[in-house]
Symmetry: C2
Subunit: 282 residues, 2 copies
């Protein structure tokens, strides 16, 4: 039983493509319309069974849609949403999948017309690969979905967005855009920054015999720089805070090493281990 | 066809246990003798098919061995090697699997009697788990083995140690203890430190909804503090150097973020990505 009549997905990259594939496989939407600027992407999205209909015309993509999912890079979400609001029908619901929320939600609450309801959201899933080629109908299986309403969010729209995502993910959680950005600065943006610094710090002669731990700790550095500079800069303040908190830990550790303070070093490592052991590996 | 008649493995943890299991499965030694202080470990090692004979008596373990592998935590390798040298027969070869090499090799070259040949080595494999329970006959499959001879290393012993490890690993590489410690400070010890700092820096409220990237980037923090403080402190100088090189990258990145210097930030990330893309994921 389809839960939505007509879904439009704006941007058919890793996230947009995977969303379409997951919706189709579970028959959660009657019709999935995909928008991309490139006809070649539309072709590949159709082959991957991510969309039923593809178009390079934004107006045609969203005109009759009940739910419109903005799945472009973070910096393109607000400009696309503004255009979509001009073309979509009254009562249509807009939502996004951007990795940062404060800027996007604030700008859209200020500028969208009242008849287009926007609800910010973020499925916590990804890959260092990008594009429809990397998309998978399983990308969201086992993932969290974070929805970030504010006092301005349309009351009727919020439960519809939650109902839309619920069958696709392991768990839906609700938090403010501010809490979202603080949380994911620490648990997603910071790890990406640290991986880039680790990869950048490797001496050339070490490249040929990097240990497995190095490969694991730098995998995220393979992510697309064009996607991630957007994410870092649109959450700049919280990212810098998380980096500073991390750097303070590095500073403490360096002091324990220079002083050969074995007992304190062991306590430092044991404290980190206890925190990590408390997390569930998925 | 067994390549060695009698191998003694001193310490039956993750590495010692996995070595025994791999040797037995491939029938590379006629007899594998295991030494542990704990009878319960010997029992489990026998059940896991890691050893043929187990003993808590070090003299009995090494007396008739042709090759003796020291597989204890880093700080116990030198004291054990000195005892072993007193008990082993003339012409026996000693080698170790310690994660740092300069201190161990230097101390043993100074103190071992001439008739006991020591060759330092390090299989580049591990797990955040420890003990015979985590051992596996596949642990070294696909791994590098680094052997670290010096001008003092016995000429006849080196090829024997290489021949011993070769069928167990993907590749054997030779380098000086100094190069080993510099290299693995950057590609193994530093990633472990960084994972501990990341785990230590996570705010309590983030614990319940950590992103997958955070789980990946902190997995190494689950490693045993008692093993790793030894490793960090026995390679203190190179570890601090690697940490400083990493911190300089963090410092550059912070400046790009505070200044919203998008083009330079993108170049920074692209440079890290290019370095990482050049590495082969195993």
């Amino acid at each position: 039983m389809a839960r939505v009549n007509r879904v439009a997905i704006i941007g058919l990259g890793l996230i947009g493509g995977s969303l379409g594939m997951a919706l189709r496989r579970r028959r959660l939407a009657k019709t999935i319309v995909g928008y991309s600027r490139k006809p070649s992407t539309l072709r590949r999205a159709k082959q991957a069974r991510a969309i039923d209909v593809g178009t390079t015309n934004l107006r045609a993509a969203v005109r009759d849609a009940d739910l419109i999912v903005l799945a472009t890079p973070v910096d393109a979400i607000v400009p696309f949403a503004k255009q979509v609001a001009r073309y979509c029908r009254r009562g249509a619901i807009l939502t996004d999948v951007g990795s940062t929320k404060v800027q996007i939600v604030r700008q859209l609450e200020r500028s969208l017309p009242a008849y287009a309801s926007f609800v910010g959201g973020h499925p916590i899933a990804g890959s260092e690969r990008r594009g429809i080629e990397a998309a998978s109908s399983d990308l969201f299986t086992g993932a969290l979905y974070v929805v970030t309403p504010t006092p301005q969010t349309h009351r009727g729209a919020l439960p519809k967005v939650i109902r839309f995502w619920k069958p696709l993910v392991k768990k839906v959680i609700t938090m403010s855009p501010q809490n979202h950005d603080r949380l994911f600065a620490a648990t997603s943006h910071l790890p990406h920054l640290v991986a880039a610094c680790l990869a950048g710090a490797i001496p050339a002669q070490a490249l040929s015999s990097a240990a497995p731990s190095f490969l694991e700790m730098t995998r995220l550095a393979k992510s697309d720089p064009e996607l991630w500079d957007d994410i870092f800069l649109s959450n700049r303040r919280e990212v810098i805070r998380a980096l500073d908190r991390f750097n303070r830990q590095c500073h403490v550790l360096r002091k324990l090493l220079t002083g050969s303070r074995r007992a304190e070093l062991r306590r430092f490592l044991a404290n980190a281990k206890a925190k990590r052991d408390a997390l569930h590996d998925s």
